[in-house]
């Protein structure tokens, strides 16, 4: 049964890694604004460059 103890430790370490990834995400402001990124992605397909007079 002692293998269960080992598994618990490994499981906690793994979960702890995800928790710290979550902390990093919160601290770097990824949860501050959840609306703008969804708008930003809409304009990602910008053609390389449009120069003067290209617009029709």
């Amino acid at each position: 049964m002692s293998v269960l103890g080992l598994l618990i430790v490994i499981g906690l370490l793994l979960a702890g890694a995800f928790l710290s990834a979550f902390f990093w995400a919160v601290r770097s402001g990824q949860f501050d604004d959840t609306i703008t990124p969804s708008l930003r992605i809409l304009s990602d397909g910008e053609p390389p460059a449009i120069h003067k007079g290209d617009l029709e």
Partner: protein, 807 residues
């Protein structure tokens, strides 16, 4: 002959902003623009390789309202101002965060995040859409702040620069971050401890050592939940105990403490596994409830003060030259120039020019006040007409209006009022503690070994988690339903106050009437095409609101040349158009121009503009601010449950029109001073809470007196005065539905309370008999919380379907 203004537009629209452009300009490729400003922006974007802007949305540009002068923002470069606006970075660049109300679509975000293409001095720029904020990194040695702001204004995105911008510090995102972090930790711990507890739920015989190991791991995991995640509950309970108020936080804290204490005791003495899974699940759910409740409308602000309305700077006259100085530096004795549409920033005496000051901002009276040179002027009014010069007699902060504002700034917090929840909390806490004590003494007599256990069990089971979740989820959901239907609430508790109102006071100007859409009707000699053209040419130079209304009414006649133009602010204007002398303005103005056959007209009911050609009277334009549509239906619906009162600072010339439109159930009072209105609200409050519906700017005292302050606005994101709720003007006719909905929400909360108390009684049955097994607690507590959350959200949704979606 009579016709009225018709605003429907068919025809070409502006390539940039989508406004009708039939009288605008056309460029070489046949693209039409409503004005030169829009065309300039279009060409600027095209030249900088940014024409992708126009592919993201059709006509995405904000209408260019006025061409901004190059030097309009030079005051921003002064050290004392820029120091407070800029944040310096390590590499010598700086960062500035500006609020830009014009941000409204995907294309705006894209354009503003591509600002770097305009100048090599601009680095990264980021938009925070819900707050309508733009953060720009730039190199101040190569690009001045004033130039950056000017560039933005030229593009049609002028930043909202007001006195308050100076006080703003870093965005307060940290409290939201803390909450998200707490939810994350509590969820993590709840999930893991539940996994560890499965064996004890199922009663599986695990080896003793492993079970103890798991319970110690759970204990270690639960520590941050109790100390960090639940910190707000401890604090709130402590504050309410110290203030001798019983809030729902007290039984929550009591329950959490009992849960943790019992678990700690069981684990340390090896009696069992404790209830740490229930504890962390409860905290997790409670925090989610808080998050649901606090999701705010970030672009709206409900607590503006004078600093949000006052500009950052004023124009002063120094040695004959104009200088723009920050408002905070104005001193008594300075000479200030105030132009048409500008706010008087300080108290002063009028030095030259004729002042026509619109004090509707302060007093509610919509007719401008006329003052002559030498008269005293109070800060806070808006000059209408030509430019005036003022000698300041006080600085900004000691000016009468501002002092008044500061005095009443810390108004009473309505939230502390007797609410349903606080009443329930007092009742509940009393009940729980008496049951716990009663069962303690019962077991002392019967079997003293079970006494302490049953006492703690009662506290554990009675943790009013479900009760505490009902209100946040119901009011949080209600707030979002109301927002979807045009009513934005400052805080969730407004729902409850809204439902309890017994009377509603309406302000007339700007609330029931629609000031921006004046209806003009013409009476007199027929307006031939050349008459319209001549009048339009004459009025194009006028800045008076009546002149603008008539100009709109005339439509887009052919343009013609005008010479010898002369305007007397507030009286009228005249000029020579194609060898005809045209005069337009008040009756007195026409008389002073020597007009013949001037008729006497009853002007007590409408505002009137007359005109004459070659001194011969031709006709008059009657200008009426129209009442908003569907008011009679609204009043009828509201009248079923509320007393209705309409007040106005104006004369009673609109009385007949209002009675006709609103019905006779509404009582009306005219010529009310702000003090009278306040008194009116106070009298109505003897019978219960009173809501006041106004434009939010006028009638400060009456608004502050009322229980629920609703401001009606055409554009809620630009305009946000001190109020409890913002109502979109087009949704005003449906206010009765909003009220009905808020009453339903109150019923929903009561139902949820009943359900959660029923659950508590079942749990108490286990607890007082001393049989609360961990598995019972692990099932019962989350189940009760989840049912109550489901009920609160589901029933609110149903209520919204029933009441709000009815057209």
């Amino acid at each position: 002959m009579q016709n009225s203004l018709n605003q429907t537009v068919v025809g070409p629209c502006c390539e940039h902003c989508g406004a009708p452009s039939s009288d605008g300009t056309v460029d070489a490729r046949g693209r039409t623009f409503c004005c030169l400003g829009c065309r300039a922006v279009f060409e600027l974007l095209d030249a900088n390789g940014l024409s992708y802007f126009y592919r993201l949305e059709a006509h995405p540009g904000p209408t260019i309202e006025a061409i901004v002068e190059e030097n309009a923002f030079t005051y921003l470069d002064r050290k004392d101002i820029s120091r407070r606006l800029l944040a310096w970075q390590a590499d010598g660049s700086c960062r500035v965060t500006l609020r830009i109300p014009a941000i409204h679509c995907v294309a705006c975000v894209w354009l503003l995040e591509n600002l770097y293409r305009f100048s090599p001095a601009i680095g990264e720029s980021r938009v925070v859409f819900p707050r309508q904020e733009l953060t720009v990194h730039f190199d101040p040695s190569r690009l001045k702040l004033s130039a950056l702001v000017h560039q933005l204004s030229k593009l049609g995105y002028p930043p909202a620069l007001c006195l308050d911008s100076l006080n703003s510090t870093e965005p307060v995102a940290s409290s939201q971050r803390h909450l998200v972090q707490r939810i994350g930790i509590a969820g993590f711990v709840a999930g893991n401890t539940m996994l560890f507890s499965i064996s004890s739920y199922l009663g599986l015989a695990t080896s003793d050592g492993l079970a103890r190991f798991m319970s110690y791991v759970s204990l270690a995991l639960a520590l941050p939940v109790v100390t960090y995640c639940a910190a707000d509950f401890w604090r709130a309970a402590w504050f309410s105990l110290r203030g001798r108020v019983v809030s729902l936080d007290v039984p929550i804290a009591l329950g959490l403490a009992a849960l943790f204490g019992q678990s700690l005791f069981e684990i340390v003495t090896a009696h069992g596994g404790g209830y740490l899974d229930s504890l962390s699940a409860l905290v997790f759910l409670l925090l989610i409830g808080r998050w649901v409740q606090d999701r705010a409308f970030e672009s709206l602000r409900f607590d503006r003060n004078y600093a949000d309305y006052f500009p950052l700077s004023a124009t002063t006259l120094v040695d004959g030259g104009e200088r723009i100085v920050p408002l905070t530096e104005l001193r008594a004795g300075d000479r200030i120039v105030v132009r048409h549409g500008e706010l008087l920033p300080v108290d002063g005496t009028l030095a030259s020019g004729e002042a026509r000051i619109d004090y509707s901002f302060v007093t509610g009276e919509s007719d401008p006040v006329i003052r002559q040179a030498g008269d005293e002027l109070l800060a806070g009014g808006r000059q209408v007409g030509g430019a005036i010069e003022i000698n300041a007699t006080r600085s900004v902060n000691s000016s009468g209006l501002v002092a008044l504002w500061n005095q009443t700034g810390s108004e009473g917090d309505h939230d502390s009022a007797q609410t349903l929840i606080s009443r329930a909390a007092r009742w509940f806490t009393g009940g729980v503690i008496s049951i716990a004590v009663a069962s303690f003494f019962y077991w002392i007599i019967v079997d003293s070994s079970l006494a302490l256990r049953s006492f703690v069990s009662v506290l554990i089971v009675a943790c009013p988690c479900a009760l505490a979740l009902a209100a946040p989820f119901a009011t949080g959901a209600a707030r979002h339903w109301l927002a979807r239907h045009g009513l934005f609430l400052r805080s969730p508790s407004v729902v409850e106050r809204l439902a309890q109102c017994v009377a509603a006071v309406f302000d007339k100007t700007g609330t029931l009437t629609e000031a921006s859409a004046s209806v003009v009707s013409y009476r007199g000699k027929r307006l031939a095409a050349e008459d319209s053209a001549a009048l339009a040419a004459l009025l194009t130079g006028s800045s008076h609101p009546f002149g603008l209304a008539v100009r709109r009414f005339l439509g887009n006649p052919t343009s013609c040349q005008i010479t010898a133009y002369e305007e007397i602010a507030g009286a009228g204007c005249r000029g020579l158009v194609e060898r005809r002398s045209i005069a337009c303005g008040s009756r007195e103005w026409l008389a002073s121009c020597g007009t013949l056959n001037l008729p006497t007209v009853d002007e007590s009911r409408t505002s009137t503009v007359h005109w004459a050609s070659d001194r011969v009277y031709r006709g008059r334009f009657d200008i009426v601010a129209p009442l908003r549509p569907e008011l009679s239906q609204l009043m009828q619906n509201l009248g079923r449950s509320l007393r209705l009162v309409v007040t106005s600072g104006d004369s009673d010339r609109d009385r007949d029109r209002l009675v006709e439109a609103l019905g006779s159930t509404v009582s009306m009072s005219f010529r009310q001073s702000p003090g009278d209105k306040r008194q009116l609200v106070e009298e109505l409050q003897h019978s219960g809470p009173v809501m006041m519906i106004g434009d939010g700017l006028n009638d400060g005292p009456a608004l502050r007196q009322s229980s629920v302050r609703i401001a009606v606005a055409e554009d809620v994101s630009v305009f946000a005065p001190a109020c409890d709720a913002l109502l979109q003007a087009r949704e005003l006719p449906r206010l009765a539905h909003h009220l009905q909905f808020s009453r339903h929400v109150l019923t929903v909360i009561k139902i949820c309370f009943a359900v959660s108390i029923a659950y508590n009684l079942i749990g108490l049955g286990f607890a007082v008999t001393g049989q609360l097994a961990p598995v019972v607690s692990a099932i019962l507590m989350p189940l009760s919380s989840l049912t109550v959350v489901g009920l609160a959200v589901g029933l609110t949704h149903l209520a919204a379907r029933w009441t709000l979606t009815i057209r």
